[in-house]
């Protein structure tokens, strides 16, 4: 092969990795601040406030926090498996960085390489980080850590399945596994999120679970497992996990923006593509943070049941639906949607219309039935009515209770 070509590709890869690293670190800094700020405003607090001038609203706290973590003593438990304890953060960070390679930033501009199997690559590489979590849990030689690590494996492997399955419809509609190809398909038709809202929602839910965010933060459930697999990590090792968690969140949000929200597609021409990708990414991220501020945590059996009994069947039904309709209903129709001052013109395959209708209907049923789906079993409702609001005591209540 031509040497210059190889060198050029290698250089492109190095530049891409640099972009990824800078982006991840920057994101982690801003997001850790945004996360706290968001949580604080939800909870009627101020959040970080006192680092730097007041108008920055404590933004430099992120830098101060990073410096603190860098300077902290690196504590390794005496009984820990030293080598694995050292490797675990690396094993967690590397797959996350690797996943950035194929993500498209703008048209003709992926972070490093426009792989023709980008979708599979990203999913495969990012799922490797589970190994890092397990290693962290195991190597710490701490019971809470071990439980957290095992929980993480169970959860991440379970939710990996519906996550992948929810991506299949988008790939089927685009007819390609290349991420930029999928965006191009959305540019010429319409955002897949509008046609496949159910798949988008399943992807979002699985994304929450994959990144261990509320309500699926069982592996590091503070109230049960202290800090889960992170219990014995401190200083820079902990910082690496922390950074990689935000990095993973960015990957998931980026995927959501790419596959369901049209990636770089937006007004003002191609030049603003990267801006649109970023805007969509952070819009999804906002919901991530918002969910954290609102929801309590699921129990492990409810979590697993929700994945295997609800999300996977739904995702499979969705795939079957797309396949069947795509085969049965051929042809395309041009559509022109007036959007404010501009007109959004695209051609839509005919099968997309019934598909969208069914998908939105399924989404509505899914959201409507969500309580019973989460419960998965009828609540063991004790005998008497729970509707009784108030009773007034007559006589000796203890004698009453014993007599009944």
């Amino acid at each position: 092969m031509d040497l210059t070509l190889i060198l050029g590709q290698l250089g492109r890869l190095v530049i891409g990795l640099l972009i990824a690293i800078v982006f991840v670190i920057g994101s982690a800094l801003v997001l850790s601040w945004g996360d706290r700020k968001m949580l604080a405003y939800t909870q009627d607090r101020f959040g970080p406030l006192h680092s730097g001038p007041r108008w920055l609203q404590g933004l430099p706290f992120a830098i101060a926090d990073t410096l603190k973590l860098l300077l902290k003593e690196d504590v390794v438990p005496g009984e820990a498996d030293k080598i694995l304890h050292l490797l675990a953060p690396v094993m967690f960070v590397m797959p996350m960085l690797g996943a950035y390679v194929a993500l498209p930033l703008a048209n003709q501009f992926p972070v490093a390489a426009d792989l023709n199997v980008g979708l599979i690559f990203v999913v495969a590489v990012s799922s490797l980080s589970t190994l890092g979590v397990l290693t962290a849990g195991w190597s710490s030689n701490n019971k809470y850590s071990t439980l957290g690590g095992l929980r993480a494996v169970a959860q991440n492997i379970s939710y990996e399945v519906p996550l992948v399955l929810s991506l299949v419809p988008a790939a089927m509609m685009a007819g390609t596994l290349s991420l930029s190809g999928i965006v191009s398909a959305q540019v010429s038709t319409v955002w897949f999120g509008l046609l496949l809202p159910l798949a988008a929602l399943i992807f979002f839910i699985c994304g929450l679970a994959e990144t261990n965010r509320n309500p699926f933060d069982l592996p590091e459930a503070e109230n049960e497992l202290v800090a889960g697999y992170l219990t014995e990590f401190s200083g820079i090792r902990w910082a690496m996990f922390f950074m990689a968690e935000y990095g993973n969140m960015v990957v998931i949000c980026w995927m959501a923006a790419t596959l369901f929200l049209g990636g770089w597609h937006g007004p003002f021409g191609e030049g603003f593509g990267w801006l649109w990708t970023m805007a969509k990414l952070y819009a999804v991220m906002f919901v991530f943070l918002w969910v954290r501020a609102t929801l309590p945590r699921l129990r492990i059996d409810q979590l697993m049941g929700f994945a295997w009994k609800v999300l996977i069947p739904l995702a499979l039904v969705n795939i079957g639906l797309v396949g069947t309709l795509a085969v049965l209903v051929p042809g395309t129709i041009p559509v022109a949607l007036p959007l404010g001052i501009t007109v959004w013109q695209f051609t839509l395959p005919v099968y997309a219309l019934p598909l969208a209708a069914v998908n939105w209907a399924m989404l509505a049923i899914f959201v409507w039935k969500l309580p019973s789906l989460v419960l998965l079993r009828p609540a063991t409702k004790p005998e008497s009515a729970r509707a009784v609001k108030q009773t007034v005591v007559v006589g000796n209540p203890l004698a009453d209770a014993a007599g009944r």
Partner: protein, 384 residues
């Protein structure tokens, strides 16, 4: 409402499952753990996520408060009541001064009794706010706890205006209360009660209506009615199991006979019922506060009791409906000393904690946290 479940002694239940070294994991939860509500230690035998056996170990916060009572005068012991249980301080003080008054045979002025009702109910609210807030936090929701503590802060502000101290109030006196209500205090209270009602509505929407919260609490940790009675539970725990046992109506004290107290009862017996009892008890407290404010009589706030008293020989047992349940004080006077000869606290948390090993058996580890939170113990009072 009968249950077919038999009461099996704990040691017999444990005998059923021998320790299996290849599967079982002994996990020490606490004494330093985010959700054991203090320094409780739970020695748990886990099989996977399931709890085979759970043994609570207490005593990490033992300060010998009951012994301290013996070396303090009747007036001097009141301030230690703020410390053996530090969430609902006013109620503890009420139990203590109630017992001392019974020993002395002091008639408390009616205004003082009404002020006591108001501060008691506010104290109950502040305890339930901590209970509900940290309970939801235990289940992984970060937000409601801050709302609860925000409102609790206003209750503490009210107490500060009343007695000068936010936490260790030392407000009750044998024969009355320390200070009369300051000017404008009732207006502040009325404003607070209005806002507090809104918070409870908000909590009901945010927490009670949440599917995940329901999934985590409904049907979890069910205490059947007869078991609740057999374990001598009290407070929201027994009322959540459908027994309308409330000291304010069962053995009314102070000004409660004149107020129409309606004990909150739920019939589920599960964590959700106990949570809901607490939530509605706060609504009831708002109503009782308003009622007491409307009927607040004039007159003195303290009976004429000298600082150094020497009650006649005898014993007294006084019970108040504490935030966690039946909070009683047993006091013995030898007729010679200015200090109680013996003061024994019957703490509701200590008694309620007994049922934990039975409830968590077979549950997942996450449920242990949920059940422990729903029993709502204060370790200061368990260990004393």
């Amino acid at each position: 409402m009968t249950t077919t479940e038999k009461l099996v002694p704990l040691d017999q239940q444990e005998a059923e499952e021998p320790f299996d070294a290849s599967q079982d994991l002994i996990l020490n939860m606490g004494p330093q753990h985010p959700s054991t509500h203090g320094v409780l230690r739970l020695v748990m035998r886990l099989r996977g996520e399931r709890v085979v056996k759970c043994t609570p170990v207490i005593g990490y916060l033992h300060r010998g408060i009951e012994k301290i009572f013996e070396s303090r005068t009747y007036m001097g012991g009141i301030r230690y009541c703020d410390q053996f249980e530090y969430i609902s301080n006013m109620l503890n003080e009420h139990a203590y001064v109630g017992a001392a008054e019974a020993l002395l045979g002091v008639e408390v002025p009616r205004r003082a009794e009404y002020i006591r009702v108001i501060v008691d109910e506010l104290s109950r609210c502040s305890a339930h706010l901590v209970g509900v807030g940290t309970y939801v936090l235990d289940l992984g929701a970060w937000t409601p706890v801050t709302y609860c503590f925000r409102e609790r802060e206003r209750i503490l502000d009210l107490f500060e205006a009343l007695g000068g101290s936010r936490f260790n109030h030392n407000y009750f006196r044998v024969g009355g209360v320390l200070f009369d209500l300051p000017t404008g205090w009732l207006g502040t209270l009325e404003k607070f009660l209005g806002d507090f009602g809104k918070l409870l509505d908000e909590l009901e929407e945010l927490v009670s209506g949440n599917e995940i919260f329901r999934a985590r609490t409904v049907g979890v940790g069910v205490i059947p009615q007869d078991v609740a009675v057999a374990y001598s539970l009290s407070g929201p725990n027994i009322r959540g199991s459908g027994v309308p046992f409330d000291m304010r109506t069962y053995r009314p004290y102070g000004a409660y006979p004149e107020l129409d107290v309606q004990p909150q009862v739920r019939y589920g017996g599960d964590c959700f019922s106990r949570y809901e009892v607490r939530l509605y008890e706060m609504r009831e407290a708002i109503r009782l506060c308003r009622l007491a404010m409307a009927n607040l009589p004039g007159g003195p706030i303290q009976a004429r009791v000298p600082h150094a008293v020497r009650p006649p020989k005898g014993e007294a047992y006084f019970t108040v409906e504490g935030a966690k349940g039946d909070l009683s004080l047993y006091m013995v006077s030898d007729g010679l000393s200015q200090n109680p000869y013996r003061a024994k606290v019957r703490g509701p948390s200590f008694v309620n904690l007994q049922i934990l090993p039975r409830l968590v058996k077979g549950c997942t580890m996450a449920d242990v946290v949920a059940i422990l939170g729903s029993i709502d113990i204060v370790l200061g009072e368990v260990d004393r």
